[in-house]
C-alpha cells in the first residue's frame, strides 16, 4: 500500500509540470499584446510598458517559464494586474466559499444519487427505475447555466421561496472564522445567519449537484446490476440471506469501486462547474473570481486559479485512487 501510494504520487509530478507549462503558455497563445488587452483602448504606452515589465513579457520564453515556476514553488502566484492584490491571498480568501458550495453539491449528489441508483437496480424496470433513469438522463444532459437560471427564476422570482443569489441576506452578517458560512454561523450560535446561509446555498448546490447526482445514480445502478448478476450473489441468496444483507453487504462493497472513481472525477468537474454556478448565483468563490478575471484579462489570476484548480483535480484523483486501493486490496498489486 505504501509503495503504491509513493508510485502513484510520483506519476502526478509530470502531470503537474504539464499543467504549469500549459498555464504558463496560454498567455502567449492569445493573439495581440496581453498588456494592451488588459488595459484597454485608452492605455498610455508608458502604462503598457509598465505592465509588460511587471508580467516579464520582454524576457525570453524559457527564462519567463523558469521565473514563473520558481515563484510558484515559493507560493508566489503573482499580483493581480487590475487590483494589485496578491493572487494566492485572494485565492485562499475565496476558496472556502467554493468548498462550501462544492461539498454541498457532492454531498447532495451522493446522498440522493446512490440510494436512487440502488433502488433502481434492485427494482429493475419498475416505474421508479424508469422514472429515475429518465430524470438521470435529463440531469446529465442539462447545461448548468440553463438549469441555474431556471431554478433562480422558478424558486426565486415566481415562488419567492429562495434567494436568487449571494451567500447571505443584506441585513445578516457572519463573523468569518473558516469562511464556510454554515459552519461559522453554527460556531457563533447564530440561528438566523445559519438559516440565511442555508437558504442561499440550496439553489446553487442543486444546480451544481444535478449533473454529478445523475451520473452517480446511473453508475450505481449499472454497477450494482452487474454485481447482482454474479454467482457469489446467487450463493448468498441461496444461503437464505435477506435481500437487504445481500444488496448492502455483499453486492455494494464490490459495486462501490466504479462509483468511487466516478465520484472522485466529479469532484474535479465540480470545480469547473463552479465557474458557471457561481457566476449565475453571484456566489463569491473562485469560480466567479476567475470568470471576472477572464473578462478583465487579469492573467495572473487566471493562471494562478487554473494552476490551483488543476492541482486540486489531480490531488483529488490521487486520493480517489488511494481510497480505491483501500477498498479493493487487489488494485495495489497491479
Amino acid at each position: 500500500m505504501g509503495a503504491y501510494a509513493v508510485k502513484r504520487f510520483l506519476t502526478i509530478l509530470p502531470v503537474l509540470v504539464g499543467i504549469s507549462l500549459l498555464v504558463f503558455s496560454f498567455v502567449h497563445l492569445i493573439p495581440g499584446d496581453p498588456a494592451v488587452a488588459m488595459l484597454g483602448e485608452r492605455a498610455t504606452p508608458e502604462r503598457v510598458a509598465a505592465v509588460r515589465a511587471q508580467l516579464g513579457l520582454d524576457e525570453p520564453l524559457y527564462h519567463q517559464y523558469w521565473i514563473y515556476l520558481r515563484k510558484v514553488l515559493q507560493g508566489d502566484l503573482g499580483i493581480s494586474v487590475i487590483r494589485g492584490d496578491p493572487v494566492l491571498a485572494d485565492l485562499m480568501h475565496r476558496f472556502p466559499a467554493t468548498v462550501e458550495l462544492a461539498l454541498s453539491a457532492i454531498l447532495l449528489a451522493i446522498v440522493v444519487g446512490i440510494p436512487v441508483g440502488v433502488v433502481s437496480a434492485v427494482w429493475r424496470d419498475s416505474v421508479f427505475d424508469g422514472l429515475s433513469r429518465l430524470v438521470a438522463l435529463t440531469g446529465v444532459s442539462m447545461p448548468i447555466f440553463w438549469l441555474g437560471l431556471m431554478l433562480a427564476w422558478f424558486f426565486g422570482v415566481e415562488l419567492g421561496w429562495l434567494p436568487t443569489g449571494f451567500r447571505l441576506d443584506t441585513d445578516v452578517t457572519v463573523r468569518p472564522v473558516t469562511n464556510l458560512y454554515l459552519l461559522d454561523s453554527l460556531l457563533a450560535g447564530d440561528a438566523r445567519a445559519f438559516l440565511s446561509s442555508l437558504r442561499h446555498l440550496v439553489l446553487p448546490a442543486v444546480a451544481l449537484g444535478t449533473i454529478p447526482l445523475a451520473i452517480i445514480a446511473r453508475m450505481t445502478r449499472a454497477s450494482l446490476l452487474e454485481v447482482l448478476s454474479q454467482e457469489y450473489i446467487r450463493t448468498a441468496e441461496a444461503k437464505g440471506a435477506p435481500q437487504r444483507t445481500v444488496v448492502l453487504h455483499h453486492a455494494m462493497r464490490n459495486a462501490l469501486l466504479p462509483i468511487l472513481t466516478v465520484t472522485g472525477l466529479q469532484v474535479g468537474h465540480l470545480l469547473a462547474g463552479a465557474i458557471l454556478t457561481e457566476t449565475i448565483f453571484s456566489w463569491p468563490g473562485i469560480g466567479l473570481w476567475v470568470y471576472e478575471a477572464i473578462q478583465a484579462r487579469d492573467y495572473p489570476i487566471v493562471q494562478g486559479a487554473t494552476l490551483f484548480i488543476g492541482t486540486v483535480f489531480v490531488l483529488v484523483n490521487l486520493c480517489t485512487d488511494l481510497l480505491y486501493a483501500a477498498v479493493d486490496p487487489r488494485v495495489a498489486y497491479d
Binding site: 492569445i30 493573439p31 495581440g32 499584446d33 496581453p34 494592451v36 488587452a37 488588459m38 484597454g40 483602448e41 485608452r42 492605455a43 498610455t44 508608458e46 502604462r47 509598465a50 505592465v51 511587471q54 499580483i79 494586474v81 487590475i82 487590483r83 494589485g84 485572494d90 480568501h93 475565496r94 440510494p115 433502488v119 421508479f128 437560471l149 433562480a152 427564476w153 426565486g156 422570482v157 415562488l159 419567492g160 421561496w161 429562495l162 434567494p163 436568487t164 443569489g165 449571494f166 451567500r167 443584506t170 441585513d171 438559516l195 442555508l198 437558504r199 440550496v202 457566476t279 449565475i280 448565483f281 453571484s282 463569491p284 466567479l288 473570481w289 470568470y291 471576472e292 473578462q295 484579462r297
Partner: protein, 540 residues
C-alpha cells in the same frame, strides 16, 4: 417503497420550512443596487472603470459637478469661481463647512495636496502608486501629462477657503474636467495613512461614508450624518452595491425584490422590464456614439463619392429599431445630442440604395465594389471589421455588422464581416491595418473637445485610419483654447459640418443605456457621464 416515503417526508418538511421563511423584504432605509461586476479600486484618482466610479461618486466630491441629467457644470465643493481674462488663472472659493469623513477639515490645503499628488511623479503618494503598477491616467490625459508637462502649472492656497490655479495655456474644458469622477477630492490624511491601500479605505466629504467592501460580493455605505449640504442629505440610511455579474440574474434579483435597481439591462430585456407593473426603465441620456471608419490608405476610400455612396447605403433607422431594444437613436454626427457643441442644423445623407449605386457608378464602380487596393498596390477583398465585444454604443456588434453588410450588398458593395480578439482588434486599428471598421466612443466629461478632438486633432494618425484634415484640426484646437462656451459651441458645430461635408467617417447610432428600478425607487437621476448620486434616491 416505505424507505422512499421515509426519505420524502423530511425533504418536504424542510422545503416548507425554507419556504416559510419566504421572500425577505428589503428595509426601506436601505438602497440596494445591482452592479455588473466588482469595483477595481475606490481611490478615484486611479480608477478608470464605471463600476468603481459609481461607488466613489457617493463618497467623494470635487470642486465642480454635472447638474442633474445634464453635462452642465455647477458648483460642488467650490462655491463659486472666477477666471482671468486670458483664461489662465482660475480662482475658486471653497465651502466653509465641509469636513472629510475622518474628521479632518476640507480646505484649500487639501485641494493643493491632492493636485500635487496627481501631478508630481516624485510625490510620495504618487511614487508609491507607480511602484505598485498604478498611475494617474486621467490626470495625464486631461491635463497634458505629469510634472513639467502638466497644463496646470501651479495650485496655491491663497487662504483656507481660496484656491488659485495657474494654467500654462487656457483650457476650454477645464471646469468640465474638474467635474469628472476622477478629480474628486480624498482626505490627504487618509491617503497618507493608507498609501497604496487607499483603494480599500476611501475617505471623502460626500453624502455617504464607506463601511465595508466584501470581495466579490458587495460594498456597503452609510449616510454621512455630518454632511455639509443639509438640503442634499441622503434619504436612505444605507447603500449596498451588490456584484451580480450575469445580466439575466440581475434582472431576476430585481424581480424577486432582492435589489432595488440595476444597470446594463440586456437590449432584449428592456421590454420585459417595461411589461412588469412593479418595475420601471430609466434611460441614461446618451453620451456615446458608434461609428464606421474608413482607412484612407485604401485608394477606393480616397474618393469622396465612394464614401458618400456608403453613407447613403446604410439604413441606420432600421438598425437602431431592430437592434437597440428601443434605447438607440440614429446619429448623424460625432457628438451625441445632449452635448452643447451638437449641430442641430446638420442634415444627414438619406438612406437610398439607388443613390448609392448611382454614386458608385459615377466613381467608376458600375459593377459594384468587392475588392480594394491599398496605396502600396496590395489588392484584397473588402473586409468589414466589427468588435468582438459588446460596448454601450454597439450592444450587438455582430448583428449590427451583418445588418450593415446586408445594406451595403443592396447598393453593390460586397463586404465580408470579420472580427478578431479584442486586444488584437484595438492593436490593428491603432496601426491602421483595418480597411473599414466599427468602433465608437463614450464621453468622459461632457465636453465636445473630449469627443471630437481625440479623433481629429492629429491629422494623418494611423489610429484614425490616416485621415488628414488640417483645417478641421485647426478649428478643434482653437476651440480647445477658448473659455467662452458660446464661441466654442460655434466652432464645434462648424467642425461637425466639416466632418459631415467630407464624409470623413460615418456615425451610426447613439445609445441611451437603460437602467431598471423597482417602482418603489424615486429620485434616481441618470446622468450622461455616469456620475449619478444616491443621496437623492428614496425607497418607499
Amino acid at each position: 417503497m416505505k424507505r422512499v416515503i421515509r426519505l420524502l417526508i423530511p425533504c418536504l418538511v424542510g422545503g416548507l420550512l425554507l419556504g416559510g421563511a419566504a421572500r425577505a423584504a428589503l428595509a426601506a432605509s436601505t438602497f440596494v443596487f445591482g452592479a455588473q461586476g466588482e469595483p477595481v479600486c475606490l481611490d478615484p484618482a486611479i480608477i478608470t472603470d464605471g463600476i468603481s466610479s459609481r461607488i466613489t461618486h457617493q463618497i467623494f466630491e470635487g470642486l465642480t459637478k454635472y447638474k442633474g441629467a445634464t453635462t452642465e457644470v455647477v458648483p460642488a465643493l467650490a462655491e463659486r469661481w472666477e477666471v482671468s481674462a486670458d483664461g489662465t488663472i482660475w480662482t475658486f472659493t471653497l465651502r466653509k463647512n465641509a469636513t472629510f469623513h475622518d474628521g479632518t477639515p476640507f480646505d484649500a490645503k487639501a485641494v493643493v495636496w491632492n493636485f500635487e499628488r496627481w501631478r508630481f511623479t516624485k510625490h510620495p503618494q504618487h511614487e508609491n502608486q507607480l511602484k505598485a503598477g498604478q498611475t494617474f491616467e486621467y490626470y495625464e490625459g486631461q491635463f497634458g501629462g505629469f510634472d513639467d508637462q502638466s497644463l496646470i502649472a501651479k495650485v496655491e492656497a491663497v487662504n483656507p477657503t481660496t484656491v488659485r490655479f495657474t494654467l500654462k495655456d487656457p483650457q476650454g474644458p477645464f471646469l468640465a474636467n474638474l467635474a469628472m469622477f476622477t478629480f474628486v477630492l480624498p482626505s490627504p490624511a487618509a491617503i497618507e495613512k493608507w498609501g497604496t491601500e487607499s483603494c480599500k479605505h476611501p475617505v471623502g466629504t460626500g453624502p455617504f461614508r464607506f463601511v465595508e467592501w466584501k470581495p466579490n460580493q458587495e460594498v456597503v455605505l452609510e449616510a454621512n450624518p455630518a454632511y455639509w449640504n443639509k438640503a442634499a442629505a441622503p434619504k436612505v440610511q444605507r447603500v449596498i452595491i451588490r456584484n451580480i455579474k450575469d445580466s439575466s440574474q440581475r434582472l431576476a434579483a430585481l424581480k424577486a425584490g432582492e435589489i432595488h435597481g440595476m444597470e446594463w439591462v440586456n437590449p432584449d430585456d428592456v421590454r420585459v422590464v417595461r411589461a412588469d407593473p412593479n418595475l420601471q426603465v430609466l434611460l441614461r441620456p446618451t453620451n456615446t456614439t458608434g461609428y464606421v471608419a474608413f482607412n484612407y490608405k485604401v485608394k477606393e476610400f480616397q474618393d469622396k463619392r465612394v464614401r458618400t455612396a456608403i453613407a447613403h447605403a446604410i439604413n441606420k433607422r432600421g438598425i437602431v429599431n431592430a437592434l437597440y431594444g428601443g434605447t438607440g437613436l440614429v446619429a448623424n454626427q460625432f457628438q451625441p445630442p445632449p452635448l452643447w457643441g451638437y449641430n442641430k442644423e446638420l442634415k444627414d445623407y438619406p438612406y437610398s440604395a439607388d443613390r448609392a449605386r448611382a454614386l458608385l457608378k459615377e466613381a467608376g464602380f458600375a459593377q459594384g465594389l468587392k475588392e480594394i487596393t491599398w496605396e502600396d498596390g496590395r489588392k484584397e477583398p473588402l473586409a468589414f471589421w466589427y468588435m468582438p465585444v459588446s460596448r454601450p454604443y454597439y450592444p450587438n456588434p455582430k448583428e449590427i455588422a451583418e445588418a450593415i453588410a446586408a445594406d451595403l450588398a443592396k447598393a453593390g458593395v460586397t463586404v465580408g464581416p470579420q472580427t478578431i480578439d479584442w486586444s488584437a482588434y484595438l492593436d490593428k486599428r491603432k496601426k491602421g491595418e483595418l480597411p473599414l471598421y466599427m468602433l465608437g466612443w463614450t464621453g468622459d466629461n461632457g465636453d465636445p473637445d473630449n469627443f471630437v478632438c481625440y479623433f481629429f486633432c492629429n491629422p494623418g494618425a494611423s489610429r484614425e485610419g490616416f485621415y488628414s484634415n488640417k483645417d478641421l484640426a485647426e478649428v478643434l484646437l482653437q476651440a480647445q483654447k477658448l473659455t467662452d462656451q458660446g464661441k466654442r459651441a460655434a466652432l464645434y458645430r462648424k467642425a461637425e459640418q466639416m466632418i459631415h461635408d467630407d464624409v470623413s467617417r460615418l456615425f451610426i447610432a447613439n445609445n441611451q443605456p437603460p437602467l431598471a428600478f423597482s417602482k418603489k425607487v424615486k429620485g434616481y437621476v441618470p446622468n450622461p457621464t455616469n456620475t449619478e448620486y444616491f443621496n437623492t434616491v428614496q425607497v418607499e
